[in-house]
Amino acid sequence: MRRTNDNGETLLEIVLTIIIIGITVTALISGLATASTAGNAHRANVSSDAVMRSYAEAAKLASRQCAPGAPLAIEFLPLAGYTVRVEPEAPVCPAVSTTQLLQLTVTAPEGLTQRMEIRVRTP
């Protein structure tokens, strides 16, 4: 009677093992790459948020220092690579009985764009 060799070291088993480990390692590396990409996107998002908040505060500060009808000069230097924009493009300080609506836009170096509306007034 012929005995079956169950040592588990046939060529087929080794090949299958290598394939499975290869697929697993590939999946893990892909997962890590995805996590890294998500981390970068999250960091860009947080940085954009910080720039947006700073820009909004700069706009509010500018409105507190100007007279009604005068140009609203927002002095703000964003982080390197970030661009900021305000609409209307040439805002003016509002009359004391009203407010000025500003739409702020921040664009990150990666292309991520955030928009936010604020209202400013003169004291």
């Binding site: 009677m1 947006m52 936010m116």
Partner: protein
């Protein structure tokens, strides 16, 4: 004749260890995959929450600024700066509807000549609009503003005395 001591058909001593190793391997890979998925999902949720919080905060900020401008056009009664002046308004900003309630919170100071002078202070509270007065838990920003007036009652300048944001 050579006789094998191994019993034909009996399990080898390490049989079954392969299954345990395989299960452990699968669990390890599963844990790593679950961790990575959780990380990505968490990042996505954080992003949404961050932007939503900021939009709400600045919507409340803008709504209070608009309310201050409105109150400024309502000259205070010089004979009773501590009167029952109150009001509310709703402002839509960043796609969010914000309600602002305000009421008088008079103050009294003694002037340089010793005379008692009433201060026209107003407390503003902003919250997401539900159609009713802002509840304490829902208030996003609470501010107290002093309205400086001339002897005719016209407001000449406003001074923000407190401005607290509830995040």
């Amino acid at each position: 004749m050579k006789v094998s001591t191994e019993t034909v058909g009996s399990p080898s001593p390490d049989r079954g260890s392969t299954l345990i190793i395989a299960i452990g391997f699968v669990m390890a890979i599963g844990s790593i995959a679950a961790g990575l998925s959780a990380l990505v999902v968490s990042s996505m949720n954080s992003r949404g929450t961050l932007i939503e919080l900021r939009d709400t905060e600045y919507a409340a900020d803008g709504a209070i600024e608009a309310a201050i401008a409105e109150v400024r056009t309502q000259p205070g009664d010089l004979s009773s700066a501590c009167g029952d002046m109150a009001g509310s308004r709703v402002e839509v900003l960043n796609g969010q509807s914000i309600r602002v309630d305000w009421y008088n919170a008079c103050g009294v100071v003694r002037g340089g000549d010793g005379a008692v002078v009433a201060q026209r202070n107003v407390i503003f509270a902003a919250c997401p609009d539900t159609g009713a007065t802002c509840l304490e838990d829902a208030i996003v920003i609470r501010a107290q503003v002093n309205f400086e007036q001339t002897t005719t009652g016209a407001v000449t300048e406003t001074f923000v005395q407190t401005w607290s944001v509830n995040r």
